[in-house]
Symmetry: C2
Subunit: 293 residues, 2 copies
C-alpha cells in the first residue's frame, strides 16, 4: 500500500486537533478535502481510525496505535532528506525576491573558490512559503523577509532594513506623486499573499499601520509575475525599494510611502546544525557582506 507523507501529516493534524474542521483550518485546506483524505486512509488501511461524533473526531484504539507511529515516520523521512543533502555537498540557499539577495551571488562565487568541493544553489521560492524552503526542508538556509510564521522555530539573524514603498498602476491618480502617504492607500485594493502565510501577509498589507481600518484585498497571489500583473490591472501592493529595480513592468510604477514600517531582511537556518562547518562559513560570509546598521 502506498501513502503520501502529506496524508500522514493530515492524519496527525486531525488526531491532535480532534476535529476535521479544526485541522482543516490549521492545514489550510478545506474541510471536505480532509474528510475525503481521512476516509481514504481508513479505507486503504481497512481500519477505522476515528470515531465520528457531533463533537468531533476521537481516535479509536487502532487510531492511537497508528498515531503513535506516524511522528517517527515523518521524522525518519526528514532525517533522510537532510542526510542526503549533506552527502551531496550541496548548500541550498532559498530566497523569495532578488532584492533581498543583493550581493549574495558574489559571496557564493568567492565561497566556491575557498571550498570547491561544495556546490551552492540559489533557489527561489514563491510566497506560499515565506520561509523560502526552510519549513519544508527544501533549503538549508534562506534569505528571508521578517517577520514570517514559523520564524520562532529557526535561527534568524537580521541583515539589514529597507524602506517600503508602493507599486501602483501607471494610470493611478497617485502615480504622479513624488511620495505617497500610506493613509491615502487605505481604501485601495491590495494584492495579498495566501492566508496560510499569516503574519507575513499581514505585514505586507500593513494591517498594523491602518489604525483598524479594514483591508480591501483585490487579488491573492504567490508569484512575482502574477503579483506584478495584478498591479498592472488595477491593484496596489507594498514592496521594498529594491523591487523597483528588479521588477519592472510598463504599466507599473514605484513610489516611496510614508507611514509604513521598513522591511527587515534576515538570514535564517534550522536550529539543529545540518551541514556543520561549510554552511557556517557561507552564512558568516554572507552576513559580513550584507550586514548594514
Amino acid at each position: 500500500m502506498d501513502v503520501d507523507t502529506r496524508l500522514l501529516r493530515y492524519f496527525a493534524a486531525v488526531a491532535e486537533e480532534g476535529s476535521l474542521t479544526g485541522a482543516a483550518e490549521r492545514l489550510f485546506v478545506s474541510q471536505p478535502a480532509l474528510t475525503k483524505q481521512i476516509r481514504r486512509l481508513e479505507e486503504d488501511l481497512g481500519v477505522r481510525l476515528f470515531a465520528r461524533s457531533r463533537s468531533g473526531m476521537a481516535l479509536t484504539e487502532a487510531g492511537r496505535e497508528f498515531a503513535s507511529r506516524v511522528p517517527a515516520l515523518l521524522d525518519g523521512w526528514d532525517e533522510a532528506v537532510q542526510a542526503t543533502g549533506r552527502a551531496a555537498r550541496v548548500l541550498r540557499l532559498g530566497f523569495l525576491d532578488a532584492g533581498a539577495v543583493g550581493a549574495v551571488p558574489e559571496v557564493i562565487a568567492e565561497f566556491r573558490q575557498a571550498r570547491p568541493e561544495w556546490r551552492v544553489e540559489l533557489r527561489q521560492f514563491d510566497w506560499s512559503d515565506p520561509s523560502a524552503g526552510l519549513a519544508r526542508g527544501e533549503a538549508d538556509a534562506a534569505v528571508v523577509r521578517l517577520p514570517f510564521p514559523g520564524q520562532e522555530r529557526l535561527t534568524v539573524r537580521q541583515l539589514f532594513v529597507e524602506e517600503r514603498g508602493v507599486l501602483l498602476p501607471a494610470r493611478h491618480p497617485l502615480a504622479n506623486r513624488e511620495t505617497v502617504e500610506f493613509r491615502e492607500l487605505w481604501d485601495e485594493p491590495f494584492v495579498a499573499a495566501g492566508a496560510e502565510t499569516g503574519a507575513w501577509r499581514e505585514h505586507w498589507l500593513a494591517t498594523e499601520e491602518r489604525d483598524g481600518h479594514p483591508v480591501r484585498v483585490g487579488a491573492v497571489t504567490g508569484r512575482p509575475d502574477e503579483w506584478l500583473g495584478a498591479v498592472a490591472s488595477g491593484c496596489v501592493a507594498l514592496a521594498p525599494v529594491s523591487a523597483a529595480r528588479f521588477h519592472s513592468h510598463p504599466d507599473v510604477v514605484f513610489r516611496p510611502v510614508r507611514g509604513v514600517s521598513p522591511s527587515r531582511v534576515g538570514l535564517a537556518r534550522p536550529r539543529g546544525r545540518t551541514h556543520e562547518a561549510a554552511l557556517d562559513e557561507l552564512l558568516e560570509a554572507i552576513t559580513q557582506r550584507l550586514r548594514r546598521t
Copy 2:
C-alpha cells in the same frame, strides 16, 4: 517536502537495477514515467541522485546515502500498517472470486461467535494483484488461486482443486457442445489479466497446454464485470466451474474443457505471523471446512 512511498519504491528499483529501462520493466510502468518521477525526486531534494550515462544510471554519493535509508523508511511504514491492523482487531481476508471462497462466510460467522472481540472482513481484490491484497499489505490472509507470482514469499496451503472450463459467447459455434477440447480453443481470442501478473496470467491462458501454439489475446481486464463483458462481445476465457454459478450473463455460457489442468485454490498468509492466535484460529477453521483431497 512531501513524498509518496511509491516514489521511494521507484527510486529503490532504479538504484538496484542500475537502469531506468530495467526498473521500469520490473515495476510495470513505462520508462518515461520513471524518468519523470526520478527527475522530480531529484529536483525536490535539490540533489543529483544518479549519474546518467549511456549504460544506465549509477548512484552518486548522495544517492547512496539516500538509498541506504530508503529501505528503513519503507519497512517502518509497513510495520505501522501492520501494527494498526493488529490494534484494530480486524482480520482482513482477501479473495478474488466468490467461487473460491465457498463456505468461508459460514466459517466467519462461527468465528464471530467464538471470538466476538475480532471483526473479520472479506475484501475482494481485482486481478491486478493475484495475491488478493497480501502483496501490498492490504489483507492479513487470502483465498487465492495458484500459482501466482510472489507466492514464494508467502506461506501457502492448498485447499482444494477445481476443474476448469471455458466461458463462451452464447452464439459461439462451440457453445452448443456438451464438452470442448482445449485444442479447439487455441486460436480463439482470450481475455487475459495484466502483464504484471506473470505466471498467473500464463496459467489462465493455459500457455503450458498449448504445445507452443501462440496465444491470441483479445482483451486485457482486471475486473469480473469487464471480464464477462469481454466474453459477451466475442472473446473466450478459461474459468473454474464455480464461475458458472457466480457469474451469469445472458450472452455467456460455460462449458467444461478437456485438456487443461484444474485450478488449485489455496490459503495464503505472510511468513511472519502478524495477528498471532486469532488469525491462526480462523485460518485453521477455514482449512478444516474447505479442504478436499
